[in-house]
């Protein structure tokens, strides 16, 4: 597939953009990356994501898709090699549940991150949420088992 067909609008620092980059790489999909200045958003971005005006936005054959988790699932459907999502509907539901949990708790974890105004505070809820995730991971290598999958891509920002 020609790389002009797939364009990813993003910023170098965004973890949500990273998820999409990792997924495209896993699938061997060539794409063009457009670095956005979030303080000075391009007309293309505003046109492609008029509601939220945020990155990442994936544009495939001229059609824009926003929201990183939606993009991941779209990528998985259009390029089925090296699947990100499990096959079984119940396992897929489980994956979606944990991705939602991780995204919802993002604010909790960000509150104890390097940019916080109140270092040392808000640690308890963050730790509690991390414990839940740790329990779920159990002794496995990845959330999806032996190979990287959807939940791993969604959680991957935590390593940064």
């Amino acid at each position: 597939m020609a790389s002009e067909d797939v364009v990813l609008y993003g910023t170098w620092s965004s973890s949500f953009v990273d998820r999409v980059k990792w997924a495209l790489k896993m699938k061997g999909v060539e794409y063009q990356f457009v670095e956005e200045d979030l303080l000075n958003k391009s007309p293309m971005l505003l046109q492609y994501n008029p509601v939220h005006k945020k990155v990442p936005v994936l544009v495939h054959a001229g059609k824009p898709i926003a929201e990183s988790t939606v993009i991941l699932q779209y990528i998985d459907e259009v390029w089925p090699q090296n699947p990100i999502m499990p096959e079984d509907p119940y396992d897929r539901a489980t994956a979606r549940f944990w991705a939602k949990f991780i995204d919802e708790k993002e604010a909790v974890w960000a509150a104890i991150g390097p940019c916080t105004n109140e270092p040392g505070k808000n640690v308890e809820p963050a730790l509690a949420a991390l414990r839940v995730l740790d329990d779920h991971l159990g002794g496995r290598k990845f959330f999806s088992g032996d190979t990287i999958g959807y939940v791993d891509l969604v959680a991957g920002w935590m390593i940064k």
Partner: protein
């Protein structure tokens, strides 16, 4: 033999109602279990240890919590009578609407929080909340694009996800003697409210309006400072 389907729910929860509507649309037989939210059952606590909330769908003994996750599961486990389009791009577009309606992480367009604000405030604050809610609803008005339903000529996933809006906004309008969505300000959405609520598979699963109003009144009273 088909695996057993159980739904753990609370009669007044919009999240539970939307799952019931989806199950009804697909013609799936299930056992409904009413939970006492002040005294949650062992089954509920075991099935949803993370959030301990309804709804939880239990299919063949395996629990699925979170209404949005349940809806997608229902669609995949019972693919006949699809609620989502077949084309991957169209399918990707459906959740984008869902996120607009439900809650987007730092999205300015949040119908649910502004709905809650409208419900829980009074006087000037409530007027402001109403304006915010109407602004959010204006986006949905645009998303209808002159169609009868969000999914087109017939109702689909997005209609079911957004379906709490017509029922609960009308209840709040009744409670406050107010009008939020009408012919004058949001004509397409107003029509959609009516069309959606009259669909048989929806109507059959809506809780009794009077009972919901009494429940909302009770909630409001409990929010009053002692």
């Amino acid at each position: 033999m088909a695996k057993e389907v159980k739904l753990l729910g609370f009669w007044a929860s919009a999240y539970v109602v939307r799952v019931q509507i989806a199950l009804n649309f697909k013609g799936i037989e299930y056992e409904y279990v009413e939970e006492d939210l002040k005294k949650k059952s062992e089954l509920l606590l075991q099935s949803n240890p993370v959030y301990r909330q309804v709804p939880v769908l239990v299919h063949g003994g395996k629990p699925i919590p979170e209404s949005m996750v349940i809806l997608e599961y229902i669609e995949e486990a019972w693919p006949e009578k699809p609620l989502l389009p077949q084309d991957p791009y169209q399918r990707a577009m459906a959740p984008t609407f869902k996120n607009k309606i439900y809650r987007s992480r730092s999205s300015p367009f949040q119908c649910l929080p502004s709905g809650v604000k409208y419900f829980t405030t009074k006087g000037e604050d409530q007027l402001k909340a109403k304006e915010e809610l109407v602004e959010n609803l204006r986006i949905l008005e645009g998303a209808l694009q002159g169609n009868k339903f969000f999914a087109g000529e017939t109702a689909g996933m997005v209609d079911i996800v957004a379906g709490w809006l017509p029922f609960w906004i009308r209840r709040m309008e009744g409670l406050f003697g107010d009008k939020v969505v009408e012919e004058d300000n949001l004509p397409h959405l107003n029509a959609w409210f009516q069309d959606y609520l009259s669909l048989p598979f929806v109507r059959e699963k809506l809780p009794p309006p009077d009972k919901v109003c009494a429940h909302l009144r009770g909630l409001l009273a409990s929010l009053e400072p002692n």
